[in-house]
Structures are given as C-alpha cells and as structure tokens.
Symmetry: C2
Subunit: 643 residues, 2 copies
C-alpha cells in the first residue's frame, strides 16, 4: 500500500508523444461552429447525455456505486461490466463540459464522482460488482469479469474530466486505482491481462497525463501477456497468439480493435517497430478483406466477431457501433504515428457512415448492430441490457472536435472539413487562430481564414513572418482535375493528388484566406468479386457520405427489384425539411418483376434469361446511410442491382 | 406409484395409424441388396457403430450410468444430455440387429441395457445427470436440462430393440419411465414441456407399440403446452407462440423439426385438421424460403437456427446434420399422412445430399455443420463434445430400409429406388416378395421382380388373382418424355408425370417383372433472385444427387474464378476407383482472372466491364456433394458462376 498514496499525479501539461509525426490539438482548443457536426454535438449535450444520465440511474448503475460504498442494501444490478457505462457517460459529460456550462450537468458529474469516490476501497480497488461480498473474488476471472476494462474507462473519464476542468479529484481516484492495479499486475507481480482490452489505451493516456512511466510499462505488459494462454487461448479474446505475431484480425471485433488502439498508443510512446509493423499489417488486411463499405467491422453475430476474408453479409452484418468507434480510435492513433492520410480518410468515412448511424436524430435511440440491408424490423432502441454503445457514441461525439486538426513541426493539418475555429500554438512557435467555414459534406466549398497569426512570445517579428504550412486533406474520392484552391482570392496552381494532404507553405499572416472547392460528384462503388452477396451490385456515395435506399422514399418500389441505371447522372437536391436537412440523390432505375414462375419456389432448373422482366423506368431516391431508420419503418439497402 | 407397475406393455403387433394414407413397411421386412445404400449400411454396422461404442465408453457416457446406479464414485461427466447419445447409439445398434448377428454387438447392447436398468430409479425416473446428488432438482429446469428429450430417445431405442429382437426388457424400462413422466406431467399434473422437443415422437410411437393411449395424450399435451410461456417464451425454444398458430419455422432448427415430426405423428393418430394445416403451412414456407439446395436446414450459427426468408449463406451455412435427419423424419410422417410425393422426394434428396455428407467414407468422422462453400478448413471430426450428430446418422442409416416401401389399400409403393428385397403382406391380403435391382442413383435403370405373390390364407385363389397396384415414384427432375416403363418386357404406354407416383395396376403374379428407365440427365439449378449470394450462380445435379466442385479435382483452377459454360453438355463418367466408385461430371468452363486492379482493394469506383478477364477454356470436374472432404483438404463450392 505504501507506494499508492505516494504517487499523486505529476501533471504534464504538454505531452508530445516522441514517436508521433503529428500531435493532436486538444478538443478544448477547438470550437465547432454552425455546420454539419454542430447539430449532433448539440443534441448530444442537450438530449443524449441527460437522457443517458436518467437511464444510468433508472437501471441501477448508480445504485451499484451506493451499494459498493455501503450506503444501499441491495443486490448488484445488471451485468458485471455495468460500471463502465457510468464511466463512459462521465467521459462524455466531461468532454462536453468544455463547451456546455450547464449547472445541471456539472451537478450530475460531481454527484457521480462523489459516488465513485465513496465506492473506491482503501487500497485503491474500484469495481462495484466485487466490492461487497465478492472481495475475495477480485482479479480471479480476468477472462470474463471485465475488471481492468472498467478500470480503463474510469481512467479515461478521469483524464477527460481533468482536461476540461483542471479539477484533479477524479484523476486522483484513477491514479489510486491504477497504482493498485500496478501493485497487482506490475512487473514481477502476477501475470494477468484483461479478457476485454481497453485499459492499455487508458494507461498510456494516464502516463501522458501524469508523466509516470510505470503506467506505460504496465500497458506494454498487458499486451505482451496475451497469447500465452493466460486467458485460455481463445481467438475470441485475441489470446490465441502473441499480439506481435498476428497477421489478421480475428475474434470479438471491439476487443480486437481496442487492443490495436492500445498497441498504437504504445508505438507512439516507444517507437517499437515490430509492434508498428504488426499494426500496419493488421490494418491493411482489415481494409482489404474485412471492412464493410460503411466502415463497419465485425461480420458475425456469433461472438460479435470478425469473419473470414470477404465474409460480409449485408442483412446479417453485425458491425457493432462500438467497433466503428474503436476503428476511429485506432485510425486516429495510426494517423498520428506517420500522418498517412489513409487513416484519416477511413476515420472520416467511419464517423459519417458507421458511428453516426448508431444514434437517432432525436438523440435518444441507438443501434448496437448496423446492417446494410434490412426488411424494416431493425430499429434503434432506447437502451440495451449490455449498454456499451450509447455512452460510447456520446463520448465520441463529445470529443470529436479533437479530430479536426493536427500539428506537426511544419504547421497545422486540417484533417476534417468541419465548420470550426481553433486557437493553438504551433510547434514552431506561432500562435494562430484559424476559422473554417463550410457546409461540408453537403457541399465541397471550404473557406479557411487565419484570423490571427502572431508569435508566442510577443514582439518577435522574426517569427511572425516565418512561413509555416497549412495541410489540407484531399480525399481519395476527389476528381483531382476539378478541385479549386484559392489563396486570398487568387487561384493557386498546386498539383492536386487525391488521397494526400495538400501542403501550402506560406508566411501566413492574419487575415489570410484559403478557399477550397472539392468536387462532390456522386460515385458508384463496386466490391471485390469475392464478396459474393454484392455480385452485380453497386453502392452509391457522394463525397464522404454513403447513401442508401429507404422504403419510405421509394414506396411501391420494392428495393430488392430496383435496378439502377448507372449511366444516368444522379440528381442532387438539398431538402431542408427532410431529415433535418440532407442532400437527397435521385437515380433512374428500372423495376424488375420477379418472374412469376418463381412463385412458391426457391430453386428451379436454370432458364436462360427468364429470371426477370423489365418494367418502365422509375426515379428512385437515396438518403445518407447515417440517416436511415429515422422515419417510418421499412426496408433499406446499401447494395443495389444495376444495369 | 401404484399405476406404474400396473402398466406393463400391451404389445400391439400391427398398429395402423388411422389417419394415414400409407402404412410403413417395417425395416425388418426389407433387406438391402448390393447397390448404393448397402455400402454405407455395412460401414455403419462394421465400423461406425463399434467405433461409437468405444467413444461412448471413453468419454464417460457409460460411466454416468454406473455412477447413477451407485456403482461408481465419480462426478457426472460431460453435457447434461449425454445420456441421449447412449440411447441413440442403442437405437442404431438395435435396428442393425435386424441384419447384423454379431455376438459382439449383441453383448454391447445387452451390457448397455443392463447399465440403464441399474440406473433407473425405483419410481421409474431415469436420467444419470440427476440421479445422484441432484434428485431434488429433477424436472426443475425443463427449459435447459433435456430430461424429457433424453427420455424420448430411451423410448425410441427401446422400441427399436423390441422390434428387432422381440425382447421386452428395454421396452419395460421405457414404459416405466414413460409412466413416471405421465404421473408427473399428465393431465391435471404439473404443466411442463421440454425445451428440446423429441419426447413427443417417442410417446406416440410408444402408444403405437403398447396400445396405451395415455402416451398419445401426453404427447398432445406436450405440444399444447408450448407457446404459453412455460419455457420463457423464446423463439429459440419455439415457445413464443402456440404451435398451431405458427406460420413459419423459427428458432433452433433441430428443435423445430423434431417438434414438427412429433406433431405429424399426432396427426397420423388423431387426424386433427388444424395441426395438419399448421404443418403443411410450415413445410411449404420452409421449402419456399428456408431450405438449402442440399436439403440442409438452419442458416445461422447463432442459435443453430432458421434465418429470415432467403437468408442462405453458403460458407456460413449451419445446416446441422441433425436438422437434416429431423427433416427426413418429418417428411416421412407427412408422406404417410397423405402420400404426397413431394415429401418423399425431399426425403430422398435430403438423405443423399444432407444426411450422407454428415459421415466420412471411412465411417469414423462426422460433420456437425454442413457448409455449401468452404476454403478447405472445414473437416469432419471423430467426435464432438455435443455429440448429437454421430449416433443420429448411425440410427438413420440403420433404419433406412424402412423408408424404401410403403403400403396402402391399393398396393405397394416404391418410395426409394434402392437394391433391396421386401417380404410383406399387403393390406388387401396378398403376401408378396418383391426384388428391386438397381445401381440408382448412378444410373436410372431399375428392375423390379415380383418373385412371389400369394394370398395370406393359403389356397385362396380368388385373392391370388386379385389385382393390386405397384406405385413407382417419378421424381420431379425427370425428363418425362424419356422415361421407359416395361412390364414383362413389353413397353407400357402410361403417361408419365414427373413429381407423382406412377400407378400400375395389375393382377400381378409371381415372376412378373417391371423395368424402369429413368432419365438421369445433368441439370443446372438456379435459386430465387432474393438469395443474394447465389446471384449469377448455378448448382449442378444429376438425378437426386447434388454435385460440387472440389479443389482436389481441379488443382490450379481457383474455384471462385471458375465460370461454367452452361451451354455445353456435361460429361458423365463412372470412376470405380474414385471415392469408392462415383459418377464424376465434367463441365467446360472458363477461368476468370480477377482484374489485377483489385489487388489490395475491397471496394473501388465502379468500372464497366473491367471486373474480370477471360482465360482459355478448362475442363472442370464435379463429384457428388455427399462425397466431399473425403480426400485432401481443399476448397469446395456448390454454387458456381456461369455464362
């Protein structure tokens, strides 16, 4: 116990990961302005976070802390990992304190912190399932009981709370818990690692926040201990082989992706090349053989798991919302390692097409599973017994401003086009204020104004005129020839390469203005011939948004019989009343009749050309995939037959 | 307890189900001769049944009985329903006693019966999991513990043993158990029904064997009690709605199909029209929307369950071998109700293409799951922790001769073309011996000789000359115009209708000879356009045999890139050395190269016509699906691209 109280946090204000090409810009330095992401962020803070607080209370998740503190005589309620939902909510609420000054929210956050504080044991241990009556079972079933997983989420909540409030009380609780864990599982202590990875990321982040390297060491240990049979050796738990020997992702998708995120955090701090190679290999295999066009991950219901290469069923896609969030976290870390725009592009695509679909427009209903085809029975729900996804979406939306910009010695990187302002000191010393105005992804016009550029140390004129670079991400779906870039009203003739960052180096001054016009054409996407369900089918996208067909927009046109005429230009129309304002696409299509001879048959002798008959042409309407299932229940499909 | 000992079996020698159009011919009256089914039957009796006996012993399944009898101080071993494997083996062994006079087998059967006898409790209760230490938990968890399921399998084993040996000792044990169950669950006793249906079939069969109607009543009660929440109301257990209100099959496939089989047994005895309508509706829905081209059933790994309509993934097909066996049982019962040849045709197809693949040619390895496409990793195994399939295949093969013929007042029905002889008394009074010679399904020539026709009562010349009908099943895949039927060497000009029974009425006499030539052309099969994975794909069959491509026959031709030229006549060649002698099919095909641009990509902007490039033509080889995975491991597929 002696070393626990001695290690109060040593706060490191500015941790730069030594092996990162890019450094993050704190979400507290970024403000969303009126634009695409502002609405989800506002709904998240005004509706989702308060609603989830009520649900945490109503479902006994808060009572579990009272009980663990000895203040309530009731059995433990719910699943063994229910504490983590409270912590994820607390993380979401903490991030949102950066821009939400609501007294109510602050009170709720403080109340929960006091509950957590009271539930923490004298030795630092904290888990309400094991606190009363089961104290002797602590750490005895790492495979299934999620104790370290829950601890990781507490640590992340504590860091978020500290970052936005500079209040150390939750961080102190987290440090005591982390120290307790270190005393149990540190070097030369018992060999153990968690069935559900998560604590690895949290420990690295705690190292970054406190400067105490032992947390980093412990995170490394937890990764190193996998694949040695400590968890029984299952693929489901990614314990079938040492992590550095993996060549493709298997098992529970969220577990696998959280593990990769933690490993990437380690690379950022240690620069370990073998770990990096493993991660790059896993990522490449994933995007080449395992990912849905939505960015969703995890093909199988059984085990919520990755499937075989090209195993990507549409109606039975699992694609858990949490797996998409995990992919965002992993891509973010990989991007920081080497600045490869592929990671950022996948991050963006996943945010729009795999994370955002997880929550309804009213902010109160969630998808856990995200099919790409549905008959209308799959609807969002207000909560789940295993409620991992709702607060995970909430914290992702709350921290989202942190993904928009990055820094490097050369300058500032615009990763996401999103109406926002940022106030940040560049590594080279300049302090800049940058204002980004755009309706992206609805259109491709982006205006970036450097409202203020001045040296960090006042009156350093030399720095003031020192050039730095603005890096603008050129998505790979761009039509390179039609991109327009203007600086202070003058077109600049830089070569545009889709799938890279465009670097504009200049001795930028206050008032400089960059205008960017990205081509937002509709593109049709096909999938690898080994994805059997998508044979003869295309998906439709515009810019970074994947589109789908919903029955409610195409009444009397059975989706499965629509055959899109790919040669016709799709129409694009902004409909302010539709789904809170979306650009709807219209395509021409024919509607095939199923040969009446199929009536009552599943198989028949092959008949050439008699399968279907054409009907007159129709106009079909498509909405962004993230918007589906917000209106009347009905069929939906992403992959469509075409001619 | 008083009524238990009073109900010793009243054996009914000839039970004719009153609402059956057709009556079965006991497997004891049928002998397989040299032909297709003889080999599997011989392997079953000489290898499979002895091997399984060893496995029952080695895995503690027999020890559980010793333990229950108080003769072994060991914990219960294995899964809660492990008794059922012993009973299914005993049923298989008992049927095979009809044609296998091995002393060894008889000793093993007697030993197991003595173990069972010793394990039975005084009150008739019998289940080794609950016998010691858990007696107070009997019947407390019908949802999960399979007690009635195990009892059902004991009853079926007992009936098989009695039928082939006329020895009543196992039947007496079964009757005592059934009476105990009746005293627990009979009318006005406790409302309960089993989580895993099976006992319903067994009780109806026990009624048929003993004449005691209370077993039939109890079977009806067990069906009536479903869907009332007694099992928690889950679809998985088919407890979500009363059975008679179901309109499609859901939940665990084996459970659902066993339940249907039991319900069909009840219809045969009661003639209940509502139950029959439900069954017909479920069957129709199943064959129109839920069945694999193999006859396999159950699309989902999760819950080993039926999926949505047209949800039929190939590589991830579940298609449990036990579900195919259950389908055979259900179709057999439906066929007896009204003699509709569709049931018999599906039964035959399922035997060849869904049951037989479940066992290796060497008789020692089993498939539990039966995919229609595989990369070569799915191989048969010698046993399973949940070992339901191996003894289920064994008992199905052992009782198979009982499916070949049926009787009706009009005459005898030839359901399956299989080299065999039958010695039976027709309902109209004649005793006939019939001899069927054929190499079917390898070729379509069948010779049926009435080696003996005489009245049951001797010297009844009137009966001798009385005409009766021979019913020959004309499968629906026939080319009607090319079928040849000859009686005593003379072609007869009956109209042939594929998918019906051809009735030939005659005053048949000893020595009459019918020759039948069925067309055995290769046919290509396509599936309903809503089976998305099969878009642009065909399966290949010849007669009742489904074919597949195996890598071992098509080395250097990646199966997924084979495009069959459907317009070319397939070659058919008998290869006596291949797989114990099969007819191999050869088709012409082109091998498409995957556009090299797909390298490293899963999705891309659609490009017209550039997906694949043609290579020169190749000859591809196909083997019957039942024979797959008996040679070198490698890819396999049933559905093939075509041009």
């Amino acid at each position: 116990m002696s070393d626990i109280n001695s290690s109060l946090p040593v706060i490191t204000e500015t941790h730069n990961s030594p092996f990162a090409s890019l450094q993050p810009v704190s979400m507290t330095d970024v403000q969303l302005e009126d634009g695409f992401w502002k609405t989800p962020q506002q709904i998240n803070q005004s509706i989702t976070i308060p609603t989830q607080y009520e649900l945490l209370a109503r479902t006994g998740r808060l009572d579990n802390f009272l009980r663990a503190a000895g203040k309530l005589d009731k059995p433990f309620q719910g699943l063994v990992f229910n504490d983590s939902d409270v912590y994820k909510w607390l993380e979401a609420a903490s991030w949102s304190l950066a821009y939400n000054q609501s007294e109510e929210l602050r009170r709720q956050v403080d109340l929960i912190i006091s509950l957590i504080s009271a539930a923490q044991q004298k030795d630092g241990y904290l888990n309400t399932y094991f606190s009363l009556g089961k104290a002797n079972e602590r750490w005895t079933n790492l495979r299934e009981k999620h104790e370290l997983y829950c601890a990781g989420h507490l640590i992340q909540a504590a860091i978020a709370h500290f970052r936005t409030t500079r209040d150390e009380k939750l961080l102190e609780i987290a440090v005591r818990l982390a120290d307790h864990i270190y005393s149990e599982f540190g070097p030369s202590r018992r060999a153990g690692t968690c069935g559900h990875p998560e604590v690895e990321m949290a420990l690295v982040e705690l190292y970054r926040t406190t400067g105490n390297k032992k947390y980093l060491d412990l995170a490394i240990l937890f990764i190193d201990r996998r694949g040695r049979g400590l968890l029984g050796g299952s693929e489901y738990l990614i314990d079938h082989a040492p992590f550095r020997t993996l060549d493709h992702l298997v098992g529970h998708a969220v577990r696998a992706l959280y593990l990769c995120s933690g490993a990437a955090d380690i690379v950022l701090e240690t620069g370990e090349q073998q770990l990096l190679k493993t991660l790059e290999h896993l990522w490449t295999h994933m995007v080449q053989q395992q990912i849905y066009i939505t960015g969703g991950l995890g093909a199988r219901y059984e085990g919520e798991a990755f499937g075989e290469p090209y195993e990507l069923p549409n109606a039975r896609a699992y694609a858990e919302t949490c797996a998409a969030i995990a992919s965002v976290m992993w891509n973010w870390r990989m991007f920081q390692i080497d600045g490869d725009p592929r990671y950022m592009e996948l991050l963006e695509w996943t945010l729009y097409n795999a994370v955002l679909p997880g929550i309804s427009f009213d902010g109160k209903q969630y998808f856990y599973v995200n099919p790409l085809r549905d008959d209308g029975n799959h609807r969002r729900q207000s909560w789940f017994e295993c409620a991992c996804c709702p607060p995970n979406i909430s914290r992702t939306l709350a921290m989202l401003p942190g993904y928009i910009y990055s820094l490097s010695p050369a300058g500032i990187w615009v990763n996401l086009y999103a109406a926002s302002s940022v106030n940040v000191k560049l590594p080279a010393g300049q302090c800049i204020k940058l204002h980004q105005k755009t309706a992206y992804p609805w259109d491709g016009r982006i205006t970036i104004e450097l409202t203020s550029v001045f040296p960090a140390e006042s009156a350093n004129d030399d720095l003031l005129s020192k050039p730095f670079s603005l890096f603008l991400r050129m998505p790979s779906w761009l039509d390179e020839d039609s991109v327009v870039v203007m600086v202070n009203g003058e077109p600049i003739d830089y070569p545009i390469h889709a799938g890279t960052y465009l670097e504009i180096n200049s001795a930028w001054q206050s008032g400089d203005r960059i205008e960017l016009e990205l081509s937002m054409q509709v593109h049709y996407i096909e999938s690898h011939p080994l994805v059997l369900e998508n044979t003869g089918r295309i998906a439709i996208a515009r810019g970074p948004l994947l589109y789908c067909l919903e029955e409610v927009d195409n009444l009397a046109l059975p989706l499965s019989r629509i055959v899109i005429d790919r040669s016709c230009q799709a129409g694009v129309e902004y409909l302010p009343e539709l789904l809170g304002g979306v650009k709807q696409l219209t395509c021409r299509a024919r509607i095939d009749e199923i040969d009446p001879e199929w009536q009552g048959r599943l198989y028949r002798p092959y008949k050439r050309g008699s399968t279907q008959r054409r009907n007159p042409e129709a106009e079909i309407k498509c909405v962004p995939y993230f918007a589906w299932a917000n209106r009347a229940a009905g069929a939906m499909q992403v992959w469509n037959s075409y001619q």
